[in-house]
Amino acid sequence: MPYDIIVLIKQIPDLELVKVDQTTGEPITEGVPFKLENLSKNSVEAAVRIKEKNGGKVSAILFGNERGTQVMKEAYAMGVDDGYLITGYTGNNPTLTAKVLAQKIKQLHYDLVVLGNQSADSMSGLLPGLVATELNVPLLPNVISIDTAEKIVKASTATEKEVIKLETSMPVVISVTQETNEPRFPPVLQIIKAGKKAINTEQSSIKLDSTFRTISRKAPKSDRKRLTFEDVDKGAQEVAKVLKEAM
């Protein structure tokens, strides 16, 4: 049967392009382009696969800022049908993000809400439980596989020590792990089509006080020698020396 699926996606700076300011020791994010966050990509892939198998519709919600349109287009190219960009994101505050996302989700009809179990930049891992609580629906956490039959969802979840088989009925919030799937690279035609598709944009109205104050934000120290050999023989000799000393 067809499902209404909502996928929650996040925009993050391309972390590989983040350089460190040598005088302040702080990472520089200004000017770094945004991309679709890693686990959000797995979430989109999971949602689109459920749609491809059962029919239905995938809507994506992104709480970000104006620059998030690029990221939404990435999601469109992967197979998302409708996109909602909510602007007003000013930084990592999981409680606020969950409230903003839940408010929008409640305005839409849904059977499944899919999101990442832990995002690649802030890594808080809090959104799944917070969103499920706000919506008052069950959470299937950290899934490695998902199966649907009518209004029932079965999933396998992996903890450090065990694999657990779970079952519940819709509506449900599902958090996916990196191992769930290998996100697709959309074909060029899809990317061009996605570029022309409209995005529903609105400003967030929820305000929330936070007691957080940042004291410092520095890159971890790295004082490696960085001797890189393109001459394999020479490099191998050096490395063998280092290994022999440590053995």
Partner: protein, 294 residues
Amino acid sequence: MKFLIFSDSEDSAKQVMTFLRGKGDFVLSSTERNESISKYGAQKVLLLEGKPDPKGIASILSDEFSNGGYDYILIASTVLGRDIASLFSGQKSLEVTPEIFDLKFNETTVITKRYGLGGKAVLEEESKSKVFTFLTGISEDVPGDGVSPKETRSIPEGAVKILEIEMKKEKEVNLEKANIIVAVGRGLGKKEGIQQIDPFVKAVKGEFAGSRPVCLDYHWLSEDRQVGYSGRTVKPKVYVALGISGQIQHIAGMRGSKVVVAVNKDKNAPIFQEADYGIVGDLYQVVPKIMSHL
């Protein structure tokens, strides 16, 4: 001060109890059955019995936190722990500081450290948080005096049915004690690569480790050999990274290594920025060359 702890990992439980000793009273709650956790100075140990449903556990913690006069709750950042923390904080409308690796107390505030930007930044923050998830390695592990009394609580079942629990097989690997670690990444290309690299690992008396895809996705190595933010933190004398690109989440687990060696065929791979010695080349050609010089 009084602390409530949840940890389903024995190691994390012991570390956080060592960390809190002398700072106040603490109660440990756990699904872990090992007797040794009761020797770390907890006022009591709450053994949680039943199926590990995060919502059920969150509701037990919620009652205990409200009725037991606690100031703070610390939850181990494990797969189960993170879900419990988010369900707990959702229920109680309390702000969480996630993934901390350091915590200090002021009069009315706390000062915490955690990673931001996937590990590219260390965030030092002040807040009034009462709820934390903490990373493994927050402290050493030193047993305390006496034996904590135990109580049991049963985990209530909720809307999510747990149909089956299958234990993954656990082999003892002691990456923490190895002098030399040879870590392989996706660049290995195939499972048989493990056998091809094995003579090298033996020759240097090292231990195998892997990046997340190698351990969790392809199962070329067992999961307990995964190094990184969501795996193990290691500090060997020499860390040899073969066919690992050097994503920040991997670096987070091996940053403490004394010397880092990297072999990668892409000379722009980020791992070379985090290495002392880098060799640009195909690992299957470079490794035999290194062996010939041993």
